[in-house]
């Protein structure tokens, strides 16, 4: 019976930057095809075909970033965690969970993305909490992804929540 997941290491990790990825420059074709796919089978709005601005949900990291680096000194590079937090490199306990669920996403948008933009995604560890539930003690995780453009302007900030037990 686990008494608490929230060890000192876990609590202290909140706010730590874990990895940084940089996109290739966004091109008109990327925006156009994204819009065609996400509006299919209807035609997307003309301003997306003309690539005046990218849709908010556009992902400039699709098919891989131009550059990726871990920001954790203890990361041996054996596991690349591009879509979350490398808990092992943060020194978190080697928990054994029966299940993991996606708890949801919360996204705040800033500057829009445009052709020529190079987006940097900095992933940091959010606050971990725990709660007693039907399945015993549940760990609620948070990872925060902050996208900025080449001018340092925030494009989007996403909090991803997970539930494990």
């Amino acid at each position: 019976m686990t008494e608490s997941y929230l060890t000192e290491v876990v609590l202290q990790a909140a706010g730590r930057e874990c990895s940084r990825a940089t996109s290739y420059p966004i091109e008109a074709s990327d925006i156009r095809k994204w819009a065609l796919a996400s509006y299919w089978p209807e035609q997307p709005p003309q301003h997306f075909i003309d690539a005046e601005v990218a849709p908010e949900d556009f992902d400039p990291f699709a098919w891989g970033p131009a550059h990726y680096e871990s920001l954790l000194p203890d990361d041996d590079g054996s596991v690349i965690v591009r879509h979350g937090i490398n808990e092992r490199a943060l020194g978190f306990p080697d928990w054994k969970f029966r299940a993991g669920l996606n708890g949801g996403m919360n996204c705040t948008y800033g500057m829009r993305m445009h052709v020529g933009d190079v987006i940097t995604d900095t992933k940091s560890c959010g606050e971990y909490t725990e709660r007693q539930g039907r399945n015993g003690l549940m760990l609620i995780t948070q990872s925060i992804s902050t996208w900025t453009n080449q001018n340092g302007e925030v494009v989007k900030r996403t909090i991803n929540s997970g539930i494990r037990f």
């Binding site: 290739y24 091109e27 008109a28 074709s29 990327d30 156009r32 095809k33 065609l36 075909i49 098919w63």
Partner: protein, 173 residues
């Protein structure tokens, strides 16, 4: 006795349609290469401009099989006037679409496609594809007098250089 009429001979070279691409982007090239080499990595010269600069092309070029018309084209025009209505299963559909009488043969088969390459496609290129009527020829074969007709698709870049020419052959008898 020939199935090739004067009107058919005169039609050779007619451009029937023209399609223009959006400018090719490095992103299109990179993703194409990632897809066709998946799950291995594509050669670095499709992704990394420094690597590509070391090749004879002096920069990133698209794979030969790259399609700049995928998803959407910037423009398309059909250049055929006076076309007669004909189903695609009609052996004379080629001629009818040109507004001329076909040879009226009964059977047809696909004689295959040949693709020739010219200059490579690069980021920034705008490709124009022209469909045109190719040469007619005929030959005595097992099945009697066989008519060979060709349809040609020619891709050129914005400088008018030939990028690719695909010739399809239809056999009728």
């Amino acid at each position: 006795m020939s199935n090739i009429s004067e009107a058919m001979k005169a039609a050779v070279g007619t451009v029937t349609a023209r399609t223009t691409s959006y400018p090719i982007s490095e992103s299109d090239i990179r993703k194409w290469a990632l897809a066709v080499y998946w799950p291995d990595k594509p050669p670095a010269y499709f992704i990394d401009s420094a690597e590509a600069a070391k090749t004879v092309h002096g920069g990133i070029v698209a794979p030969e099989d790259f399609n700049p018309f995928a998803w959407i084209s910037a423009g398309h025009e059909s250049l055929i006037k006076n076309s007669l209505r004909a189903g695609t299963n009609d052996p004379d559909s080629t001629e009818k679409s040109l507004g001329i009488e076909g040879p009226g043969l009964t059977f047809m088969l696909n004689g295959g496609l040949v693709c020739e390459y010219g200059v490579r496609m690069r980021a920034g290129d705008v490709i124009t594809s022209e469909s045109s009527v190719g040469e007619y020829s005929e030959r005595e074969g097992r099945l009697g007098l066989m008519l060979f007709s060709r349809s040609i698709s020619t891709w050129t870049n914005q400088k008018g250089e030939m990028v690719k020419r695909t010739t399809g052959t239809l056999i009728r008898y």
